[in-house]
């Protein structure tokens, strides 16, 4: 089943009177349970593409369909609902709320999904369980290591059982051991049936994925599949 379909997507910025094409005619389809890596040098447009897929940004022109529905005609509430229920974000800098415990951080998407407290606690601890942090639930981010923080972030991305996990340089701020642990989690999630999209510039990370897309100057220059 096709989850994401991008047709002739352009994103054009006007910077100081000069036209900058961050995305320059992207065509891309992503199916369920794909494991995709987006690569490219900085400025190639991979972050813009990532934000576009994540419904944080809208294209200047082109058609974006998410699970068959046109994204560019949606209003704020519909976009927020897709981000909440269908997409799980994992950021390079973790982006956890510093004053909240791991448990509470993971609960936040459920609050926005209007799920009741008792169920929130159950779902959040299940998610933390699945990333191996069942004994760190009541720690605050500053009491956790970098790898543990990123695992909390992954639990937060997972907790609403989304269609896609979008990870932007998830190992960029981690040492290689923690990085490997994080990649093991992604691999496991993929085996469980999740669709995973990683943005990275490190080859060894990209090699974990089954499909690699290279971007350059806002265009797809390579779309390679690898059998697993």
């Amino acid at each position: 089943m096709t989850l994401i379909s991008l047709k002739d997507i352009y994103k054009i910025y006007n910077v100081g009177g000069e036209e900058v094409r961050a995305l320059d005619g992207i065509n891309l389809e992503i199916k369920e349970n794909e494991y995709l890596a987006i690569m490219g040098p900085s400025g190639s447009g991979k972050s813009t593409l990532m934000n576009m897929i994540g419904c944080l940004d809208t294209p200047t022109s082109g058609v974006y369909e998410f699970e068959g529905e046109m994204v560019q005609v949606m209003d704020d509430a519909q976009l927020a609902s897709i981000r909440n229920r269908k997409i799980g974000f994992v950021f390079q800098t973790f982006n956890l709320l510093p004053k909240a415990t791991a448990q509470h951080n993971v609960e936040i998407p459920l609050v926005y999904a209007n799920i009741r407290k008792a169920q929130r606690i159950q779902l959040a601890s299940d998610a933390l369980d699945s990333v191996g942090l069942e004994d760190r639930m009541h720690h605050k981010p500053n009491e956790l290591s970098g790898g543990q923080r990123q695992r909390v972030a992954i639990a937060r991305a997972l907790v609403n059982n989304p269609s896609i996990i979008l990870a932007d340089e998830p190992t960029g701020n981690l040492d290689s051991k923690s990085g490997h642990e994080i990649m093991d989690i992604f691999n496991l999630l993929h085996k469980k049936g999740n669709t995973i999209i990683l943005v990275t510039h490190e080859d060894y990370i990209a090699k974990q994925a089954h499909r690699t897309i290279r971007l350059f100057d806002g265009k797809v220059t390579e779309d390679a599949k690898r059998d697993s």
Binding site: N51, L56, S81, N84, N95, K99, P109, A113, K117, R156
Partner: protein, 403 residues
Amino acid sequence: MFSLFIENFRISLSAVLANKTRSILTALGIIIGVLSVTLMGTLISGLDRSFESSMSWLGKDILYISRYEWFSDMEWWEIKNRPRLLPEYVDKIKERSEYALAVAPVMQRGASLSYKEKETRTEIFGTNEDYMETINTDIVQGRFFTSNEDRSGSRVTVIGHGIKEAFFGEKDPIGQYIQIDNIKFRVIGVLEKQGKFLGLFSVDKQAILPLGAYKRLFSRRGWMRLSVKIPEQKIEEGMDELSAVMRHIRGLKPSEKNDFAINQTKAFEKQYNTLKVAIGGTGVFITLLSLIVGGIGIMNIMFVSVKERTREIGVRKAIGATKGMIMGQFLMEAVTICLIAGLIGLFFAYISSIFINKIFPSTLPIGLSISAVIMSMVVGVISGFIPSYQAANLDPIDSLRYE
């Protein structure tokens, strides 16, 4: 939506608690606003109460004849040039007036009272046997003096409750002799306990003597006023009649103006209402001013809070918060600061009202307290609106990149 509300409240509380000093400084305007409006209410409630009891002590059915109008701005020499009121008016008024139920002449001065080694300064009053009908006070012990005692210049006195307590404590004062400016008087009665008049002076510290003795011993030519009791429904008529009687006594021609004044407690009421408006107006002005200043402070700190948490806003949007939810979160924060400020203000107002109550009886009005807190929350909504709107409309991508 309820869980979101709880969550927002939790976020707000932790944001306020994380910046305690900042929050309290910000909220100072609101605290002062709530404090001033509630204290003003307390003050007015206390004034109302003491005014009412003081007015009932004066009596609404009493007219007071004297040389000057109460609360008038007449020149002192003009008053001084008016003829004095004389004790013989009492009988003349009784003779000619239909409405006058009782007429009491009252002369007053300061004097020193003593009993054994105890001594106190107080006001003494010289009057006649009608006096008790012109005040709303009863005799609790003994009796009032008679017209015979007045005429014969007997040295007897009725003392206020405060004097009795100070001099005699629990002992029976009736038949005891006290000294008024070193002249012996026999105590024949004690007045009921009254409290303070308008919260200013105690009417319990007084001694009442027959006018005969008073005039002979203390003041032959002092100022005198007349208290005239009139049926309560006939005040206006009584006033007109009394004026005519007085003009007749004075032998005034129709072209001449009155050279006396007839006062009634309404004059107090009018004066009092002016005072109340002045206190209320000042209070409202201070309150509005501090709420505006407070509101600007809250707005300012909310802009700072939005700026500081730009990244958090980006994250929240990425994981599914709508604009409305972000707006709600920051509005809630502004309202929470204001609510806490309102409650702090109310707390101080309550403490202050306890002390005010010791000076004169008053209570913190509950309705006003609740409205003051609601008002401060409204200030929170108003001043939090623009910063929250700004937060809600931040671009999620830019906010996520914000360092």
